[in-house]
């Protein structure tokens, strides 16, 4: 959709895009760069929802970094708050902990490793030791 200033025969530019109001309508303000005439495009709820669903932004400067999975995280009515956490640094494994991990069948090692690393990362633990593994097993109910 484009807006044209009839008096100037000049395309109008977006100067402001307001968030949805309680009725599900958005106001997007256009202004003629030549004469300054302003007009507001008022969306109906269906148009608002469609724009939202497409995952695009309206406004004079819609660029900038997108947060990963922003649509999923912000779009779900009920979402886990900690579904995505900070990456943080790598978690190290002591030799003894590595040896204990090796005792697990090969095909389950990657997910066990990940579970312990998530546990350690969440508690600021830099090195996984057998003691940390024991604590994690108790905390995670791993039997």
């Amino acid at each position: 959709m484009k807006f044209l200033c009839l008096a100037c025969d000049q395309p109008m530019t977006v100067t402001e895009a307001q968030p949805p109001d309680a009725d599900g309508s958005r106001a997007v303000i256009f202004r003629c760069p030549r004469c300054g005439h302003a007009a507001a495009m008022l969306t109906n709820p269906a148009e608002t929802q469609l724009v939202h669903a497409l995952g695009v932004r309206l406004g004079p400067d819609p660029g900038g970094a997108r947060e990963p999975l922003a649509h999923v995280r912000g779009g779900l009515e009920r979402a886990r708050a900690d579904a995505v956490g900070p990456g943080g640094g790598a978690v190290a494994w002591s030799e003894a902990a590595q040896a204990r991990l090796q005792a697990a069948p090969p095909f389950v090692r990657p997910m066990i490793r990940r579970a312990y690393e998530d546990y350690a990362r969440g508690r600021g633990i830099a090195v996984i030791t057998p003691e940390v593994m024991d604590d994690a097993r108790r905390a995670l109910g791993m039997g």
């Binding site: 599900g24 669903a53 995952g55 819609p62 999923v72 779009g75 708050a81 956490g85 998530d118």
Partner: protein
Amino acid sequence: MKRYAEIAGDGGSDVVGQVLALRQRLEERLARVRRVVAVMSGKGGVGKSTVTATLAALLAARGRAVGVVDADLNGPALGRMLGVRGQQHLATEDGVLPAVGVAGVRAVTLDLFLPGEATPVAWRHPGGLAADTTVWRGAMEATALRELLTDVAWGDLDYLFLDLPPGSDRFAAVAGVVPRLDGVVVVTVPSLVSLSVVRKALTAARERGDPVLGVVENMAGYVCPHCGRLGPLFPSGGAGDLGVPVLARLPFDPRVAAGADTGVPYALEAPDTPVGLAFAALAAALEGRWQE
């Protein structure tokens, strides 16, 4: 007065540019994936997700780099089947790291974004209209799927499996989001009802030119736990006359369902059983399709 085509851009939002940029990011992400394979079924409940999870795990156990997208957004099941429930995705500069499941399969599923197992997938809507507005819901799901593909730092993959929702109509919607599909695997059971629906799905797939690799006949017989003999489970059927290769016939074994519940596919734990051998043959058949 200027006409629409004479005016460059849309006044600032650049909606078309944003959509194109999203598509380009997806293409860049998939450029590091050797094979994008969709797993679909005509009917629900035929074991499609179990086949996806087991196939992914077997290929990963063979040393392949494998990713799985749970594209069945409203019925995500792969979190449990791949043993990633409760994991947290980690944010990096390149995107969100996938969950790591059995045999190192990298996975993303909406299951990990829901606060509880009983929480349904429902989308927040800006207001004014019913939440289940069909067009809006379809657009929300398409954008969510695109994000699951694009915003996840998959790394280099040999295979990326898309576990589709049941129904051939849903396949078309998913295929519209994914810029490149290298193969489609169709899962069915040997009942006339399922085969009839699959036949329709295959006709639609052929008309669209989808790269159908073949069909997997799941629950193709029952292995007697006492004598080990294979007997029929369905009174009818057979996928042999569908006009596409039969990639595998997988016997029914209740331990497969038990494995799916625990996150370790039974075929990995018991490779020498009839169902383990059948799944191994399926993995080999799939890999063989690209080695011919």
